[in-house]
């Protein structure tokens, strides 16, 4: 294992996140310290309201901790300005959402291509990468179709292609199989596993799905905003 692989892709130190809910302070994350190794299929699990999504949002740099520090891909993200952290997300972090969150006005091809436009990739390379990813997820023939012409499984495949097309450091997925039937969910999990292996990217999930949890290489169990257990599976 090289040094860069040995360094964690995510490191949290004493992270606390509290919300002010109409004058009532709610602590969603309560002093979590944890590291997630690179290029792993990592799972954050726990009951509803345990803080899984909040933790994923903090790792994804779309929310800021109340106290504590977060390093993502070697960058201390807490000190970055809004524009810098947005640019950081554009290059290093990708999301797969439960509800797919594809642009309804763009075709499958255009949805996948969109993150590459944000990082200013030249047109030729953009085209090659986009078509390559659509072929990899088995949707090359549906490239021109809009999301409303695709099934739930196909939409999530487009979302996976969109997440991976820019070769991010981390892919974050919040309940990616929740809106899919079990058979399609299994296919999507298999696809993500395959893509993670091929692209050597770190996948971090928040999920309840036992089917998905069974594939975890790193499992972080959260309860009441605290990390209560960390299990590592030897691959």
């Amino acid at each position: 294992m090289s040094e860069s692989v040995a360094a964690p892709v995510v490191a949290l130190r004493d992270v606390v996140k509290t919300y002010d809910d109409e004058g009532l302070k709610v602590t969603a994350i309560n002093g979590i310290t944890m590291e997630i190794p690179r290029r792993r299929f990592a799972m954050i699990v726990g009951p509803s309201g345990s803080g899984k999504t909040t933790l994923l949002n903090l790792i994804g740099c779309i929310d800021k901790p109340s106290t504590g520090t977060i390093e993502v891909a070697g960058e201390a993200v807490g000190r970055l300005s809004d524009n810098k952290i947005t640019d950081f997300r554009a290059k290093n972090i990708a999301f797969i959402f439960q509800n797919f969150s594809l642009y309804p006005v763009l075709s499958a091809y255009e949805n996948v291509e969109y993150p590459l436009l944000l990082i200013g990739m030249p047109a030729k390379e953009r085209r090659e990468r986009t078509m390559g990813l659509l072929e990899a997820v088995g949707l090359a023939d549906q490239a021109k179709q809009r999301p409303n012409q695709l099934s739930g499984g196909q939409k999530q495949r487009v979302a996976i292609a969109r997440a991976l097309v820019k070769h991010p450091e981390i892919v974050l997925a919040d309940e990616p199989t929740a809106n899919l039937d079990s058979q399609t969910g299994a296919q999507i999990i298999e696809l993500m596993r395959k893509m993670q292996h091929e692209q050597e990217v770190s996948f971090i999930f928040a999920s309840h799905d036992p089917q998905l949890i069974s594939h975890a290489e790193e499992t972080y169990i959260i309860r009441d905003g605290k990390l209560v257990e960390h299990r590592t599976e030897t691959v």
Binding site: D63, N83, F97, P104, V105, L106, E110, P115, I119
Partner: protein
């Protein structure tokens, strides 16, 4: 970004259509009113330039006191003054017509039917007036060149206003419509004109050969156009024959300030006791009428801008609310706040641009219909109806202004919704269902 913005505009087609309709109505109203205003402006200007020229040269003081004492304020050496102006190299290239005039007032009588009426007379050189009537600086007359009705070789002929012709019992000899049955038939329209510059009045006999509508009723009931030499004879009698004014018509109205300044230089250089007035000074109502129409245009423009602004702001606000999750996704993927802001401004601008383009196209179609519908109306102060005609030549700047104005308003009205979209917290936006 443009592709996404354009598709987002088409996404909720019915709402976008209703929003665009408000802009279409605004653009159509502004273009039609602007074309009407433009027609009023160039129509009035063409009429004034044909009638009184761009500039008139007077003996100093005539403009204020001359009508009460014409002999004292007339230009004695008017022929020399005309030669001086005509031979000036700077002015020569600008001038189309330069001609002497005599303005006078007096009493016109028709002895055959025992009727008389005060008149306002304009003594002019018929061929010069006919040349002035050919002026068409804005290309709106389709070659229409009304004749003065007078002839250089027939100094005894006069043209009278239609109203004056009726008053003086000349309806039948001049073959006017709707003549009163009680009017006494006459073989010819003979008139006696009485006037003078002071002392004993002078009398001349003339023949009215034509009745010509003068627009405003006051003028129609008192106007007599007569030969310049006959007007001199009537005003000055046996004294030196002078001119009350020298009329100058230019090729382009834009040359007025330049020509006026040059005339002032010439008068100062040659120590001539003369001054030049432009048509806005001679006919101040022109500016007032145009100002009134401009104020009306501006008022309607402001009302339209407010309606368009509120409609766009409402539509964009609804769009932001509906696309909250989408905004969160875009921000999570790495679109900066500025990018979200620009996205919504662009959508507002596209809506405004599409609406304005459609509105202008409809306005041009309506203009064509109106101009060929034969609609007439009677403007304030006019004695007779005129064709309702909307100007289409040279209105490119109006169309561009309306398009830019409405597109800019649509863009500006999107600022508040765009601000709201760009300031959303990513996690809150993603949580929105």
């Amino acid at each position: 970004m443009f592709k996404i913005a354009f598709r987002n505009v088409l996404r909720n087609g019915r709402r976008s259509l209703m929003t665009a309709l408000a802009i279409v109505v605004g653009a159509t109203a502004l273009v039609l009113l602007g074309e009407y205003n433009a027609m009023i402006k160039v129509g009035m200007e063409t009429g004034l330039v044909r009638g009184m020229g761009h500039l008139q040269v007077f003996k100093k003081g005539y403009f204020d006191f001359g009508s009460g004492k014409p002999a004292a304020y007339s230009i004695a050496d008017y022929e020399k003054a005309i030669d001086t102006i005509r031979s000036d190299r700077v002015l020569a290239s600008m001038i189309t017509v330069i001609s002497p005039r005599v303005s006078l007032g007096g009493i016109a009588g028709n002895a055959a039917v025992d009727k008389s009426k005060t008149f306002f007379g304009s003594g002019l050189v018929p061929s010069d007036k006919d040349q002035m009537n050919a002026w068409d600086g804005y290309g709106i007359t389709n070659g229409d060149r009304p004749k003065s009705g007078l002839d250089d070789a027939k100094p005894d002929q006069v043209v009278v206003g239609v109203g004056l012709a009726r008053i003086l019992g000349l309806c039948k000899p001049l073959k006017l419509k709707d003549c009163p049955a009680s009017e006494v038939p006459q073989p010819a329209a003979k008139l006696q004109l009485l006037s003078g510059a002071g002392g004993a009045p002078n009398i001349v006999s003339v023949t009215a050969v034509k009745a010509s509508g003068q627009g405003a009723k006051e003028m129609d009931d008192s106007y007599i156009g007569l030969h310049f030499a006959k007007a001199q004879q009537l005003l000055y009698g046996g004294d030196q024959h002078k001119a009350t004014a020298i009329v100058i018509q230019l090729k382009n109205s834009a040359d007025i300030p330049h020509a006026k300044a040059r005339l002032a230089q010439i008068f100062a250089r040659d120590k001539l006791d003369l001054e030049a007035k432009d048509f806005d000074e001679l006919y101040p109502s022109n500016k007032q009428i145009l100002g009134y129409f401009m104020a009306m245009f501006a008022f309607i423009g402001v009302v339209m801008a407010i309606i368009v602004g509120f409609t766009i702001a409402n539509t964009m606000s609804m769009s932001v609310m509906e696309r909250t999750n989408e905004i969160g996704t875009a921000r999570a993927m790495g679109v900066r706040r500025g990018g979200i802001h620009r996205q919504f401004l662009l959508e507002g601008a596209i809506l405004g641009g599409l609406g304005a383009t459609a509105g202008i196209a409809i306005a041009l179609g309506l203009t064509h219909l109106i101009n060929h519908a034969g609609i007439t109306y009677t403007p304030p102060g006019n004695a007779s109806p005129v064709d309702l005609y909307l100007l289409t030549k040279g209105t490119q700047s109006l169309l561009a202004t309306v398009w830019i104005l409405l597109t800019a308003i649509a863009t500006l009205a999107s600022i508040v919704p765009a601000n709201r979209a760009s300031r959303m917290k990513v996690v809150d936006a993603l949580r929105h269902v």
